[in-house]
């Protein structure tokens, strides 16, 4: 059963990511991103990271996506499909992406496959629950936790058998949410200046 869910979620993750990049209509791209994030939450559940999965759905698929939808609605995603300019760079980017993919495959095949049919390290009851996460955040990762909350303030003003990875995920979630807030604010500023929203067309500064 777990395998079936894993493959469905994995296909959702990859499909959602491809859709986000490739869909021309900004609304559909945001929807694909929501699908990607929900599938990712399912993968987190399979890894027994209950708290991270819940936070993923609430923070990303919920709150952050609402921000995206607001900005797309404000800027007018339906009216102007993103232009496919910069074709001379497209070929080059595909080549680089392919090289990176090969490198990653070598790295993963060389390191990860030995453990593919094992159950992984054991875990204790309560692993990944909100209570455990809270205990770690307030003990071992106190400084990181406080710095993350401080970062939030700025945005408003404008698999080892331990759970450190889940802390990593939570902290990154906070950081990414802050980045989204700042980035979308800039998009709105660009829109109000009536500059092109398509980044490829932002060419006033060059030399």
């Amino acid at each position: 059963m777990a395998e079936v869910i894993f493959f469905i979620a994995a296909i959702g993750v990859i499909g959602g990511a491809c859709g986000t990049v490739m869909l021309r209509n900004a609304f559909y791209a945001v929807l694909a991103l929501v699908g990607h994030l929900l599938s990712l939450a399912a993968l987190f559940l399979l890894l027994r990271a209950e708290f991270v999965a819940a936070a993923q759905v609430v923070v990303y698929a919920g709150a952050v996506m609402v921000l995206y939808v607001f900005v797309v609605a404000y800027v007018g995603g339906m009216g102007q499909p993103l232009a496919g300019s910069g074709t001379n760079l497209r070929g080059l980017s595909i080549v680089f992406a392919a090289i990176l993919l090969v490198e990653f495959l070598i790295a993963i095949l060389g390191s990860g496959l030995t453990q593919i049919d094992t159950e992984g390290r054991g875990f204790f009851p309560g692993f990944g629950t909100p209570a455990e996460m809270g205990r770690l955040l307030l003990t071992k990762f106190l400084l990181a936790f406080e710095a993350a909350s401080f970062l939030l303030l700025v945005a408003f003003a404008r698999a080892n058998g331990n759970q450190e990875g889940q802390i990593f995920a939570i902290i990154v979630m906070v950081v990414a949410a802050c980045e989204v807030a700042v980035g979308l604010g800039m998009i709105v500023a660009i829109f109000r200046r009536r500059l092109p929203v398509d980044v490829d067309e932002l060419r006033e500064l060059a030399g």
């Binding site: 400084l143 990181a144 404008r158 802050c178 980035g183 500064l205 030399g207």
Partner: protein, 498 residues
């Protein structure tokens, strides 16, 4: 748990973070009083500098289970970051007020960024390093786009943001892989794991190598090394001039702090493997930065490419460290060169942008080099200061820039082998080529006639104090032994056993 006496070691960081919020509160109580906000920020930063100097006398401390360390390096970096913030705040009212940009928001955003830089310089935990970095760069994006009604500022900011967050993601991917395959987020544990790899106890897994490659890429983006420099010229040219001055030194020195904590402390067991990358990056960065700077007509864009070239010189110090045998004198000298170059570069570059900001006090003065024509006859003071900073950037003795270049090039010569002396030769050739574009500005200032409608340059009191302080520092850093002394201590702290 952390005792109150240990918490004292956090005082400088806490002061700056508190000051950032205090500035907002002051602006809420007395809205629009720019001079009051400036005074609060300046007094607060001076207090933080004094506290840091006092805390330095209490010795090395580790807090939060080793995630935060206050050693000689932390204190050195804190003093440098605080000075950068102080000078930037002194330079900004003259530029912001005529353009009706809010001083309070500017000051608090800058202070948030500086607290991020201070956290970054003090952390020995991968997660805290990343958080410090993000706390540094996120306000940086906002500052770059601070002139919201200016299309250039917004365009520069969005380019800075997109490439900046992309490179943060790459760095984070590297951090995650490093954590995943070494089993700990603590820098000390990562270093001891890698010691084991070098000793042959564990195998180096390919995924960890991939992680290290991603870390290198991410760090190269952050210091704007060629070929990861594309965001720099646009972000620097588009930003309001005092912000450009800050962006060219604050995030760059902080990114080198990240390299010191990550590559020198955590990854130094593998330094024989990454030295080749640093040598190539240094040579490319110096050469391309200088060549492109030669062709620029806009002073901000020219100084942007010049700052890329200076990244290359600083990397020479890192290369000298990495190429030297462990425990050797050349290793120590390389790190000392890196730190001393960062110190000297911070003040001379900030000063050059300060003069540009002073010139642009009247809105409408562009940052084209032609704006400087005949400045020597219109306003002798700013013209002489600009000459001083440009000569120091060129590397003319006895200014700070000369000693900085000497301290990175000499260890590279001592390091032995073929590649490091060759890198030193490339650095010397580059320094000579760079003289052309720096001297060109000086010639424009003193030989060309001023345009007919050109007015003099008047500076406010804050700007005057800031420029004078920067000029004095540019002269004395190389010759007063105190600066060499504290830099030496910071370099030694890095080589002390973890």
């Amino acid at each position: 748990m952390t005792s109150p006496a240990e918490l004292l070691a956090l005082a400088p960081l806490a002061l700056v973070a508190g000051l950032a919020m205090l500035v907002i509160v002051v602006d809420m109580i007395r809205p629009g009083r720019d001079s009051l906000v400036t005074a609060v920020a300046v007094i607060g930063l001076v207090a933080a500098i004094v506290v840091t100097a006092l805390v330095w006398t209490t010795g090395t401390r580790e807090l939060f289970d080793g995630a935060y360390v206050r050693d000689d390096l932390t204190n050195f970096l804190d003093l440098l970051f605080l000075s950068i913030a102080l000078l930037t705040i002194l330079f900004s009212p003259d530029y912001l007020r005529p353009r009706a940009l809010p001083m309070a928001e500017f000051a608090s955003t800058l202070l948030f960024a500086i607290s991020g830089a201070m956290l970054l310089g003090a952390s020995r935990d991968l997660l805290v390093l990343f958080l410090g970095l993000e706390l540094l760069v996120l306000p940086g994006y906002m500052l770059a786009g601070f002139a919201k009604r200016d299309g250039f500022s917004t365009e520069g900011a969005i380019k800075y943001f997109l490439l900046g967050s992309f490179s943060s993601a790459i760095l984070l991917f590297g951090l995650a892989l490093t954590w995943g395959y070494t089993g700990s987020t603590r820098v000390t544990d990562v270093a001891s794991y890698l010691e084991g790899v070098v000793a042959g106890n564990q195998a180096l897994s390919p995924a960890l190598v991939m992680g290290l490659a991603l870390l290198t890429t991410g760090a190269a983006f952050k210091i704007a090394a060629v070929p990861f420099h594309y965001w720099t010229p646009d972000a620097y040219q588009g930003s309001p001039t005092p912000v450009t001055g800050y962006l060219s030194v604050g995030p760059k020195v902080a990114a080198f702090a990240l390299i010191l904590r990550l590559f020198v402390e955590a990854l130094s067991p593998l330094k024989g493997d990454w030295v080749a990358i640093v040598v190539v990056l240094a040579a490319l960065t110096m050469t391309l930065g200088n060549l492109v700077a030669l062709t620029q007509d806009n002073i901000k864009r020219m100084l942007a490419y010049s700052s890329i070239a200076h990244t290359g010189y600083i990397l020479v110090g890192l290369a000298a460290f990495a190429a030297s045998p462990r425990g050797s004198e050349a290793e120590r000298a390389g790190l000392f060169g890196l730190l001393f170059y960062s110190l000297a570069y911070a003040f001379m570059n900030l000063g050059a942008f300060g003069v540009v900001a002073a010139l642009q006090r009247r809105p409408g003065v562009t940052s084209q080099i032609s704006s400087f024509s005949g400045l020597g006859r219109r306003a002798l003071g700013p013209a002489l200061l600009m000459t001083l900073f440009l000569l120091s950037l060129t590397g003319i003795p006895p200014l700070a820039g000369f000693f900085a270049k000497a301290y990175v090039i000499l260890p590279a010569l001592q390091a032995g082998g073929v590649w490091l002396p060759l890198l030193a030769v490339i650095a010397v050739l580059n320094a000579a080529a760079a003289a052309f574009y720096y001297l060109r500005v000086i010639i424009v200032m003193f030989v060309q006639d001023p345009p007919e409608n050109a007015a003099g340059v008047s500076t406010g009191r804050a700007m005057g104090v800031g420029l004078a302080a920067t000029a004095i520092l540019t002269i004395v850093i190389g010759v007063v032994p105190t600066f060499v002394d504290i830099t030496q201590r910071a370099a030694n702290a890095l080589l002390a056993p973890l």
